[in-house]
Amino acid sequence: MTTGPYTIGVDTGGTFTDTVVVDAEGVVTIGKQLSTPPEFVGGVEASVAAAADALGLSLDSLLEDTKQFLHGTTIVVNALVTGRGAKIGLIATRGFGDTVFIARTTSRSAGLRSDQLHRYAHLSRPKPTIPVSKSLVREVIERVDRDGRVLMPLDEASVRDAIKEMLDEGAEAIAVCLLWSFRHPAHEERVAAIAREIAPDVPVTISSELVRQIGEYERTTTTGYNAAMSGIAADYVDRLSSRLAGNGLKQPPLIMQGNGGVASVAKIRQAPVNLVGSGPAGGVLASRALAAKLGIENVICTDVGGTTFDVGLIVDGDLELTPTTTLHQHRLFLPLVDVVSIGAGGGSLARAEIVGGTGRLRVGPESAYSVPGPVCYGRGGTIPTVTDADLILGMLDPEFFLGGQIKLDVEAAREAIRIHVADPLGMSIDEAASGIVEIADSHMADLMRQVTVQRGHDPRKFTAFLFGGGGPLHGSAYAAKLGVRNMVVPGGALASVFSAWGIASADINHSFQQSVAMTVPGDPAILNETFEALERAAQEQLSSDGVSKSEQVLQRRVDMRYTMQTNEVTVSLNSDVVNDATLADLAERFSVEYQRLYGKGTGFKDAGIEITACRVQALGMLSRPELKSSISGRGSSSAASQPPVYRERSVYWPELHARVSTPVYRQESLEVGSTITGPAIIELPTTTATVRHGQTLVVDEMSNYFITQNSAA
């Protein structure tokens, strides 16, 4: 029997809309329905209704007893990337209207992989979107210098003309980014006021409200994308809120952002660009929540999907944020949960290449995607994929893929691997399939290494969380290759709605920043004044979100660097009043952090240290119950026990280079304390987990699978 009030997390993806309902005791119930493009709100309603049904409640009675409704969606950003954003007009300082087109001359290559960069003739600047044409850019007369001093006052007549002209050209939203506006916002504010006066219904975004950071190009892109998203975002959150309110929800929903926190509908209408990156953030948030529950400090979050492999980090129990991101080959100033992706997954294509009589076996980054998909899906795919190799090796049961929803064609997969890989390379089909999996696993391990080592961490001290369709299958191999000893497959039913569960665990989070220019040692008043202003804005925002003082947490950070160095290290600042001693402490911690990131002896204090920006993360802590046993957990004893083997089948294990008769377990026969020694396979309704030779799996009370590499192995 469950009891309200409830917390609901809903994650809308391209295919499915997932729901997690957490009751007052922390017990979880899930719902999963197809998404309903192009309007999507119907899919949200249906998915929540499915969860309500599982609870024995009506949709209305569930929502009426819900205190928090948290929602993540990628559809707004997808609409933007596919060219369905609003047509924006852009206002710039006279002389600098080409800024977003020039893009610091990086847009041919920004965000592209090495193999793409080598194809010079196929690199191009992206098609203009913010705005779509130079005819929608207007330069206005005004100029501020580096100290924020006005050299040329704003010519309001030029502003009025500019706005009228761009509206005539068909502008549906207006973005304003003037030089040095983060030092002197008055000009931008005045432009916005004039625009609202001329066209009250046209959304206006000004850069100084969104991002007070030095760098006019990235400020312009961030402002431009925000304006371009404003219409779609407002439309979506308004439809969602009114539909949910109509079904009895009393509090408006909170919307997931790329920084790993949620924001109010009002805030999202104002700053929709914060939705960028919210998709991949869900998995990392869920990992953080689970890690907190399990008492694990450092986690590598790995998500193997059909086409991509995503890696994120939890360090000392917290998310890692990256200060910039790339969207559509443009760089933006947005603090995002740091998730790195490569083209590797179940759909990665494998093929042999013969060069001068020597064979190569290539895997990815090209993918079969979901259409046509792997050969074994029987949907027209002819080139073998990693999933086909998994099947040949015996890792997958052709009759029990997605719980038996899809019957896999083993013969077709064998034939494809024989033709495209085994015969050209003179290998057996098993060896070829094993090679494909080995290469894919190794590429994934390399990315995990890149993400950890390049940030100065030792991956062997991390626990790997394995999720996504292929994570539990491949993770016990790729994590082991990296020397990771502890792995966790998130438990039971949660695994299939992991991202939604992460969203349900989110707190309100707003990012505020202000560029400053000071050296250390220097005048502490600069920091005191800047943080005071930032925190005032942060508190206002949280109060307008309805967060009470006791639930407000403000985290101060500063960006620091060695003089004339372009890359910054963000250091947290834990005191309310900054004085000379605090500054000295900051400098010391900066040096320590710098050496941890870049190696001993690479720091060089004599060059001088600068503080370049102040940041405040404004958190509104949402109260929620402690997580309880997942609904699918069974048994009460935590004593080790041997679960019954469902059957045995022959599996080729790449690391053993041999077929071994391997026990297969079904999820429903495992209980708390169940212990399985590898090699073994556990079949779940939505995925398959593997335990390798030399590893042991133990089931905990939340149905998580703990996999440990034995010391002897």
Binding site: G95, F96, D98, F101, I102, R104, T105, T106, S107, R108, S109, S114, L117, H118, R119, Y120, A121, L123, S124, R125, S133, K134, S135, R143, D145, L151, L179, W180, I214, G215, E216, Y217, G356, T358, G359, R360, R362, V363, G435, I439, S442, H443, D446, Q450, V453, A517, Y562, T563, M564, Q565, T566, N567, L597, Y598, G601, T602, F604, D606, A607, G608
Partner: protein, 751 residues
């Protein structure tokens, strides 16, 4: 003229003497490498260059490295063959190959190469692009033997010498430049040698930055050494050794397969460069012929003019410049292991020329002089060959991309008495060359450093004593053609926050004439310019309520700065304007889709006048006047060949002809014909220029230069256009020294 040092012959060579051989790792007999292990290892090695690059960039204090991306990271085998490089300035990677080999030959004696050592160098004759770059080479030892090398180079803001920044346009020899340094151990047995570091930093005007940069280079090498040792431990040293060999073998074989797909033939090209330094008015040519037979490619650049002034490069730099054209154009989808690719390439050059200068020539401008010109030459040669290739390979060709790097250094004194030195990089990237199927990109690139970027205006105003008046894309600066070259950028700024005038040093080529040449009829991009508008007093104008933000608003009195000059005053009320180079165009501009021209006009990339005069397109408002366009185009064709084009085409060219250019075919009988109208252009030879109608274009009238070339040089230049006498189609556009004879530049061999 020989150097005091044992500088190797300029030929590619392998260390083979007994000393170094005794150091080398020997693989155990019978070792094997299966395809799966090879794939796993080569991914790790490819990832390693990324890791080295990230370490270097993030640790370095230098704007040049982080923004300009003027650095490289490499991995080489035990003999110094570079098989792994990052995605940055390619030109440095093959130069460094020379440095690895020199070090093995000259530093191995008496235990001179030990585990934990790192060799610092800045000697362009040994293997660095110029003395402003510093290289650091680290041997990787496995099982006590020399197993591999890692190395990187970084452009430093100052490595000493008479002029801040290292370039000296007044230099007549290397003794007026930063002193070159042969490989010396900065790190010995894992310990940083302070005396070596101080010898380096003591020369520099920015010792702190240099020191920080050296630490970044050490950190990047440490990452490389450690990782290679880890991989050797995990897979066995022999297996890794075999994988490193196979990467190079694969690159060679893939490249040879690629060459076999292309027709055999010979192509030639000239890239021009004006003035060699302060006070010079000469004109110089980088002249090359490329011959391709079967699976071999040969570049012969020995006809290049003799070394002179400060604008030379050493051969390692020039070789890097050629490889920087070969990899992206011929190997975009192949393995980028220069050592393997280079096994199929022969280079012929003449010591004592601009691109293979001998000691003690001035070479501090190496990469932006000879190195870059050679990249343009290589791009032109390979693209001419690709014009004859299958559609899939032809897609990879380019007209020349922004072929000049305006290097502008500014010196001054801050109000507090601090010396100021800064450089302006805004117009270094330019437009990219047009492709055979798509326009070039506007203001987007440097040919050999595709990921380079320019700083934000705000960052520059924060760090430098400048106030910018504008930074824009420059209309009409891209080469015209069926596909247009990308436009360049232009910026204007004034000194700001100073109480004393500044001084600047300028160094560029392509101001007297265009430098980004077009292809297959396409026109070159507009020349670059440095303009100084004296006593404009912009701040005074602001005070009066005026905000000048276009060059036309600075007055008509323009000082056309010499393209290479060591000292020009920059007064407090002056405006400095720098315009970069666009990319060359592809194909006859009259074949450009008129709607594309209309869009160019709407977006401000092409003026209405140029649309009319060069493209023959009449624009009415936002749209094309089609009737008028047709008659304009007919008039232009008429003017090219002196009569109305034939209305009825000749017999179409016989089936089975091979392509020599966009619209020139070669018949079985060996004649060049126009493939549009069938006109026989050469009567039995492939020299289609002989039968084409040639006319010259006035570059100033055509808007291809800012000021008449005679302002800077004494030679007369000719922009020659060759059109089909039958249909008036423009077949080739070439820029030449007027007194030089017309030469056939393309020939296909008969099988």
């Amino acid at each position: 003229m020989a150097s005091q040092l044992k500088v190797p012959a300029h030929d590619v060579h392998n260390a083979s003497d007994a000393t170094s051989a005794a150091l080398m790792f020997e693989p155990s007999a019978g070792g094997t490498l299966d395809p799966v292990t090879f794939e796993v290892i080569s991914h790790k090695l490819a990832q390693l260059t990324g890791e080295q690059a990230t370490t270097l960039q993030r640790t370095s204090g230098s704007v040049v490295v982080n923004e300009g991306q003027d650095f490289c990271v490499t991995i080489a085998d035990a003999r110094g063959n570079v098989f792994g490089l990052g995605d940055f300035a390619i030109v440095h990677a093959t130069a460094l190959q020379h440095a690895f080999r020199w070090t093995i030959e000259n530093r191995a004696e008496d235990g001179g190469i030990q585990e934990g050592d790192m060799f610092l160098l800045s000697d362009p004759w040994i293997g660095i692009a110029h003395q402003a770059d510093v290289g650091l080479l680290a041997p990787v030892f496995v099982e006590g033997r020399l197993f591999a090398w890692v190395g990187n180079t970084m452009h430093m803001l100052d490595t000493g010498g008479p002029v801040a920044g290292g370039l000296n346009t007044a230099a007549k020899d290397v003794f007026s430049e930063p002193a070159p340094m042969p490989p010396i151990r900065l790190v010995r047995g894992g310990v940083l040698q302070r005396e070596v570091e101080e010898m380096m930093t003591r020369r520099s005007r920015l010792p702190h930055l240099l020191s920080l940069d050296l630490r970044a280079m050490i950190a990047a090498n440490l990452v490389g050494v450690k990782r290679i040792q880890e991989i050797a431990a995990a897979y066995s040293a022999t297996t890794l050794h075999l994988a490193i060999n196979r990467i190079q073998d694969n690159a060679e074989m893939e490249f040879r397969d690629r060459l076999r797909e292309l027709p055999d033939g010979r192509w030639s090209d000239v890239q021009l460069c004006e003035v060699s330094g302060d006070g010079d008015r000469g004109m110089y040519g980088i002249r090359g012929t490329m011959t391709k037979r079967g699976d071999q490619l040969e570049f012969d650049v020995s006809e290049t003019d003799d070394q002179r002034g400060f604008f030379n490069s050493t051969w390692p730099t020039a070789e890097g410049g050629l490889v920087a054209a070969v990899l992206p154009l011929l190997c975009p989808d192949l393995t980028w292991a220069p050592s393997g690719v280079q096994r199929a390439i022969t280079f012929k050059y003449r010591p004592g020329t601009i691109i293979a200068a001998t000691f003690p020539a001035a070479v501090s401008a190496g990469p932006i002089a000879g190195g870059l010109l050679v990249t343009s030459l290589g791009t032109a040669l390979v693209s001419k060959m690709l014009s004859c290739a299958s559609d899939a390979l032809k897609e990879n060709l380019f007209a020349v991309t922004s072929a000049c790097i305006p290097a502008n250094f500014f010196r001054g004194v801050a109000p507090d008495g601090r010396p100021i030195m800064t450089l302006n990089v805004d117009t270094i990237p330019g437009g990219t060359g047009a492709r055979s199927w798509r326009d070039g990109d506007e203001y987007a690139g440097i040919s050999f450093a595709p990921s380079s970027r320019i700083p934000n205006i705000e960052h520059q105003e924060h760090a430098s004593p400048f106030l910018y008046l504008y930074r824009r894309e420059l209309p009409d600066s891209g080469g015209a053609g069926r596909f247009r070259g990308g436009v360049s950028g232009e910026c204007a700024f004034i000194p700001y926050g100073l109480d004393q005038p500044m001084e600047m040093m300028l160094g560029v080529h392509g101001a007297a004439m265009p430098s980004s040449t077009g292809l297959n009829g396409g026109l070159p991009a507009k020349a670059v310019s440095y303009r100084i508008y004296r006593d404009v007093d912009v701040l005074g104008e602001y005070a009066k309520g005026q905000m000048p933000a276009h060059a036309s608003e600075f007055g008509v009195d323009i000082e056309w700065a010499h393209p290479k000059i060591s000292s020009v005053p920059f007064g407090l009320k002056d405006v400095f304007v720098s315009a970069g180079s666009g990319g060359g165009g592809y194909g006859d501009p009259l074949e450009r889709d008129p709607s594309r021209v209309a869009n160019d006009v709407k977006e401000g990339y092409v003026s209405v006048e140029r649309a009319r005069d060069i493209y023959g397109v009449a624009i009415l408002g936002d749209t094309v006047d089609h009737d008028r366009t047709e008659s304009l185009r007919a008039d232009i064709r008429h003017a090219r060949i002196g009569h109305r084009p034939d209305s009825s085409p000749h017999a179409p060219p016989p089936a089975g002809h091979r392509m020599l250019s966009e619209h020139v075919g070669v018949t079985d009988a060996g004649s060049a014909v126009c493939t549009k109208c069938g006109t026989d252009l050469s009567r039995g030879t492939q020299d289609f220029k002989a039968g084409a109608t040639m006319h010259t274009v006035d570059m100033l009238d055509a808007g291809l230069v800012w000021v008449h070339p005679s302002h800077f040089i004494d030679e007369e230049l000719a922009l020659r256009q060759y059109s089909c006498p039958g249909c008036g189609t423009l077949l080739e556009t070439e820029l030449a020294i007027a007194r030089e004879p017309i030469k056939s530049d393309r020939e296909l061999f008969t099988a």
